[in-house]
Each structure stands twice: as structure tokens, then as C-alpha cells.
């Protein structure tokens, strides 16, 4: 069963006088549990696609079905709710809240969702152990290394047990060794059944995915699942 079904997606930006087709006539289907890498040069529409898949942006035309629900018709607050329950984000620049500790950053999605403190604490404690951060629970982001920060971010992305994880250049700010660790972590999550979509410039990282999408000028240039 398809987790994601995009048909005829158009996304147009107005930049001054010119209109830019960031996404044009995009059809795409991704099954639950897949591991997909999205590649392509800068400005090819990778990030726009990721924002769209993450419900942060809406298409100008076309339909997007997530778990068989047409999400293009949902209100902003309904989209927020789907994001909260079904989607986890991992960003290149980690996006941790600087004044919150590692544990508080991990708990943030649950706090926003109104989950009781007691349950939050049990889940955060487990996540800290799972991601090897139990010695760093009370540290603020500026007291953590890059790899540790990204591990906190991944823990935060998974704490609500989403069906889909969207990672935008997750190793872009890390050295090769820690980047490797982070990729292993994401792949382990994928192995446990979570659908993983990674946007990357790095060909070696892209090659590790089971399916590669290459974008150019807002179109899907190649899809390794449809040769």
C-alpha cells in the first residue's frame, strides 16, 4: 500500500516578474517502509518537495494523499496535527531550541501535543538510552558535539513514533565519521519499519538508499524504481 501518492503536483513561486516552477507535473508514489534518497542540483526542487511531503507547504495544483487521506484539503491546524502524529523532521542545522536541555528538546513534540509529563519522562528516558545520550540529558545544545546534536534531533523526530521521517541533508554539517553514525542510525530506524526520505547532495549517501530519485528543474529526471 502506498504511504505517499502524489499526482500532477505543481508548485509555483512568484519571484518579482518571473514565475518559477519549483515543481511541475510531479507524479510519485512511495510505499510504507521504503528508503528513498532525493538527489539533484541546487534549485532542482528537492527542498520544495520535502516541504510539501512534510505538509509545511501546499501545492498549487495536484493531489497529495498521505495514508489515503487527501491532505491538500486539510486546514492548517489539521495539517499541524498530522505533522505531529505522523511525520518526523531531521534538519541539516539540527534546529534544536538553544535554551532547552537535550531531554527537553527530545520531549518538545510531546509537550506540544499535550502528552502528560509522566509519559513524556518515560519515553524520553528510553530515547536517551536508545540514542546513547543518557549522559547528556541535562546538557544544552551548545554543550553537545555536532553528532550528539543530530542524535538529539533524530530522537526528537522519532519520539512521536511517526510513519515517515524526512531528513534534509542530515549529514551536511557533520564530518564523515559522525555523518556515518547518523546515517546508520537513520537506516536502523528504517529497518524497524519507518519510511525514510533523505534529501542529499552526497552521492555515496544517496547510493546507500534502496531507491534514488533524481530531480531537475522541478521534474523527476530519474527514479530507480522505474527504470
Amino acid at each position: 500500500m502506498a504511504l505517499i501518492e502524489l499526482t500532477g503536483i505543481e508548485r509555483i513561486f512568484q519571484l518579482g516578474d518571473s514565475t518559477v516552477h519549483a515543481l511541475a507535473g510531479l507524479d510519485l508514489s512511495i510505499d510504507a517502509g521504503e528508503y528513498v534518497a532525493v538527489m539533484g542540483p541546487s534549485g532542482s526542487g528537492k527542498s520544495t518537495l520535502l516541504n510539501l511531503l512534510g505538509l509545511l507547504d501546499r501545492p498549487n495544483a495536484g493531489s497529495y494523499k498521505l495514508e489515503n487521506i487527501d491532505v491538500t484539503t486539510l486546514s492548517a491546524d489539521e495539517l499541524a496535527r498530522v505533522r505531529s502524529e505522523r511525520i518526523g523532521f531531521v534538519f541539516q542545522s539540527f534546529h534544536l531550541v538553544p535554551r532547552l536541555t537535550a531531554a527537553e528538546n527530545i520531549a518538545l513534540p510531546m509537550t506540544l501535543a499535550g502528552i502528560p509529563l509522566k509519559e513524556r519522562n518515560t519515553r524520553v528516558a528510553k530515547a536517551l538510552v536508545d540514542f546513547g545520550l543518557d549522559q547528556r540529558a541535562d546538557h544544552r545544545p551548545d554543550q553537545l558535539s555536532g553528532g550528539q546534536r543530530q542524535r538529539v534531533a533524530i530522537a526528537r523526530a522519532t519520539i512521536m513514533q511517526p510513519a515517515l521521517i524526512l531528513a534534509d541533508e542530515p549529514t551536511g554539517n557533520l564530518d564523515r565519521h559522525t555523518g556515518e553514525e547518523v546515517v546508520n542510525l537513520l537506516e536502523a530506524l528504517n529497518a524497524s519499519g519507518v519510511t525514510l526520505i533523505v534529501v542529499t547532495h552526497d552521492p555515496t549517501m544517496g547510493a546507500r538508499a534502496r531507491r534514488q530519485l533524481v530531480m531537475e528543474d522541478g521534474r523527476l529526471q530519474s527514479d530507480s524504481a522505474k527504470p
Binding site: L56, D77, S84, R99, T111, P116, R156
Partner: protein
């Protein structure tokens, strides 16, 4: 997001930028402290004046010669235009009025008192036995003026505390003979020290029988007649009766002015109450300024935390949650500021009371309540706009600003 979590989140956000938070809290607290201190000053002035007026006696009606108002045409006016003087007999006649409990004629002048080679300039008040109780004076030693015929001036005097201290030092004064002007008087009583009372320092007063004072100053007129009404409710009636009796005695001519202590009190009360209100209004402007400052701080916070707002949206926070978080932060800034300002203001008022013990500088309750609620109100009101701006942000744009 749960309410407690919203508060915690807002608190952490506020304490995350200590300087900015401290400055806006300071601005708000200065505004509230200004309201508290200024109204304490205004209301203190009101209480002080009202207290001073109350101390001259209770339920007092004062008759003074001469008419201040403009009357209609009166045949009596056509014959004589100079007002008649008040006399001891006029004062005696007022005792007949049913609403009046006590009457004291008052003639005043300045003279010198001397004893044992010491000489002192004093104010002489000529009156009767009832003057002391009407004016709420108390005797420290001896007794008051004799309660005999008002037209018989016995050679006795009651002196104020300062006069006694200056002339007699540690010696007993009662029973001694002193010279006042060109007369020898026996001191029969000493007043308790009461301090300043409306321009007349009672501690430097020498009270003698009214007929004696008139003889000393070679005049048969009175300065005032003090009338005490039977009760607070009887004051208007006492005033009416006094006016009527004097009018009859003065051949139908209304040539005296009768004022009530109540009316004077009410006038000053109203005047100074309005002043306090005005001062509170001025202070309230600083509260509005503080409110705008809170808005500025929150707008800066929204801009500074754009990336964080984008993150919150990506993590599934609905607009309402973000709005509430920023509103809670604004409310926190202004309520902490208001509370701090209240404490500062009370401290300031306390310092004022310590520095000027006579001045009752207490902020009125209405001003404290109005000040605090204006502070919270403006804080919230001016917090709405930044909070809405945060909630409306486009998540993609917001996330890019990190």
C-alpha cells in the same frame, strides 16, 4: 500544549534573554511604582488636609462677621452698608438654638507675656469655658476658664505648652501670676501640646476670658463665634438657626457668614481627590508606554525566534499553541513588572512616611487596583499583536531563518 507546559515554555523563553526581559520588567515596574507613589502623595495630601481640618473640632459651625455672598435687595441694606460687628451677646443668643450644643465666642489679638524677667510675644484668644472642649484641646495641668458670666472677665489665663516651657522651664506654672500686656493674670491651666493646627500654633496660645480680651484690646467685637452642633446631622439646621438668630438681632440684616467645617472639608476633599486622580492619570501614561515597550520586546522576540517558531510548526504546534506561548510570555513580563512595581511603590510610600511622619502617604486601594490591572491589561493587549504575527508565520520561510 498543556497550560502548565505553556507557562513553563514562556518562562524559559523569557529567562533565556535576561537583559531584554529585565528591561521590560523594569519599565513596567517603574510605571506601576509611579502610580502607587504619586497617588500615595496625592491621597496623603488629601488625608493631611482633612485631618488638619478635623482637628479644629467636630461638628463645627463658624460664624464670622461680614457677608461674602451677594444678597437680594433688602430694605435694611439700603439704610446701612457696613456690617454690624459680632458681640458677646450675639454669641450668647446662639445658645438658645435647639440644634446647638455649645457656643464659644472668640476674640483674638497679639500681646506680650512676661514672667520673672522673661518676655514673649504671644497670641491671645479671648473665649469662654467651652472653647477648650469645642476645639478638642486637652489640659495638661490645672483647669479651664471659669464658667461664669461671659461679660465678667476674671483675671485668669490658660497657657499653651510652649509658653509654659519657655517661661517656667521646670517650675510649676499653675497658680503663678504673669503679666500679659498691662494686666496681671493668674495662670489656672496649661494645655497639652498638640502641635501645629491650621496656622494657629496652639502651643503658643494664651487663653483668657473673652471680656478680658476685649478690654485688653479695647474693642467689643468678636473675631469668630464657634458653634458646635448637637450631631453631624444637625449641622445644616444649626447653620440655619445661627443665621436666623443673628439676622433677627441685627434688625433683619443678614450681615454674617456662616460656614460649616463639613463644607470646607468636603471642598478640600473633592479638590485633592481630583488632584490625586489627575496625578494617577499622568502616571498611567507611563504604564501605556511600558505596555508599548513590552510589545516592542515581544516583536523583537518573535523576529529573533523565527527559526524556533518554524520548528514548533514543523513539530506539529497549531497556531493557537504558538499564540498562547507568546501571549503567556508577554503576560509574564507585565505581571512580574506590575508586582515588582507594586512592591517598589509601597516601599517608596513607606520611605516617604518614614521621612515625613506627619504625612500619611498611603496609596489608595482604587489606585493600586487600577494600576495593577492597567499594567496587566496593556501587557496583554500589546502582547496580542506579536503573538498573532508569530502564529501566522509561514513555516517554510520561518525554518529557513536559523
Amino acid at each position: 500544549m498543556r497550560f502548565a507546559d505553556t507557562l513553563r515554555f514562556a518562562r524559559d523563553a523569557a529567562t533565556g534573554y535576561p537583559l531584554r526581559t529585565a528591561l521590560s520588567v523594569l519599565a513596567m515596574s517603574i510605571g506601576v511604582a509611579a502610580v502607587v507613589i504619586l497617588t500615595a502623595l496625592g491621597d496623603g495630601a488629601r488625608r493631611y488636609v482633612v485631618g488638619q481640618f478635623s482637628s479644629i473640632g467636630t461638628n463645627l459651625v463658624i460664624v464670622l462677621p461680614g457677608r461674602s455672598g451677594t444678597g437680594g435687595f433688602n430694605p435694611a441694606n439700603a439704610i446701612t452698608t457696613t456690617p454690624r460687628d459680632l458681640t458677646i451677646d450675639d454669641a450668647g443668643a446662639l445658645r438658645r438654638a435647639s440644634a446647638v450644643s455649645r457656643v464659644a465666642p472668640l476674640a483674638v489679638g497679639t500681646s506680650e507675656i512676661s514672667y520673672g524677667g522673661r518676655l514673649r510675644e504671644i497670641m491671645v484668644a479671648g473665649s469662654t469655658a467651652e472653647f477648650i472642649p469645642i476645639r478638642n484641646f486637652e489640659l495638661a495641668q490645672g483647669r479651664g476658664l471659669p464658667d461664669d458670666d461671659w461679660n465678667r472677665g476674671a483675671s485668669v489665663a490658660v497657657i499653651g505648652a510652649t509658653v509654659r516651657a519657655e517661661l517656667f522651664g521646670n517650675e510649676p506654672a499653675v497658680g503663678k501670676l504673669v503679666r500679659v500686656g498691662d494686666r496681671r493674670l493668674r495662670i489656672i491651666g496649661v494645655l497639652k501640646s498638640v502641635g501645629q493646627g491650621l496656622g494657629m500654633n496652639t502651643d503658643e496660645l494664651v487663653i483668657v476670658p473673652v471680656a478680658l480680651a476685649q478690654a485688653m484690646f479695647n474693642s467689643d467685637t468678636l473675631f469668630r463665634i464657634l458653634v458646635e452642633a448637637r450631631s453631624r446631622e444637625a449641622i445644616p439646621l444649626a447653620r440655619e438657626q445661627a443665621t436666623e438668630i443673628i439676622k433677627q438681632r441685627h434688625h433683619g440684616e443678614e450681615d454674617v457668614t456662616v460656614i460649616t467645617q463639613d463644607a470646607i472639608l468636603a471642598t478640600f476633599d473633592k479638590l485633592l481627590g481630583t488632584l490625586t486622580l489627575g496625578v494617577a492619570g499622568i502616571a498611567a501614561i507611563s504604564l501605556a508606554v511600558a505596555g508599548i515597550l513590552v510589545m516592542n520586546v515581544m516583536l523583537v522576540a518573535v523576529t529573533q525566534r523565527t527559526g524556533e517558531i518554524g520548528l514548533l510548526k514543523a513539530l506539529g504546534a497549531p497556531a493557537r499553541t504558538i499564540r498562547l506561548a507568546f501571549l503567556a510570555e508577554a503576560a509574564m513580563l507585565s505581571s512580574v513588572g506590575a508586582l515588582l512595581g507594586y512592591l517598589l511603590g509601597q516601599l517608596g510610600a513607606f520611605a516617604l512616611r518614614q521621612a515625613f511622619p506627619l504625612f500619611p502617604a498611603y496609596p489608595p486601594d482604587w489606585a493600586v487596583i487600577a494600576g495593577l490591572s492597567t499594567a496587566l491589561g496593556t501587557g496583554l493587549l500589546f502582547g496580542v499583536m506579536p503573538a498573532r504575527r508569530a502564529a501566522r508565520m509561514d513555516p517554510v520561510q520561518a525554518l529557513m531563518k536559523h
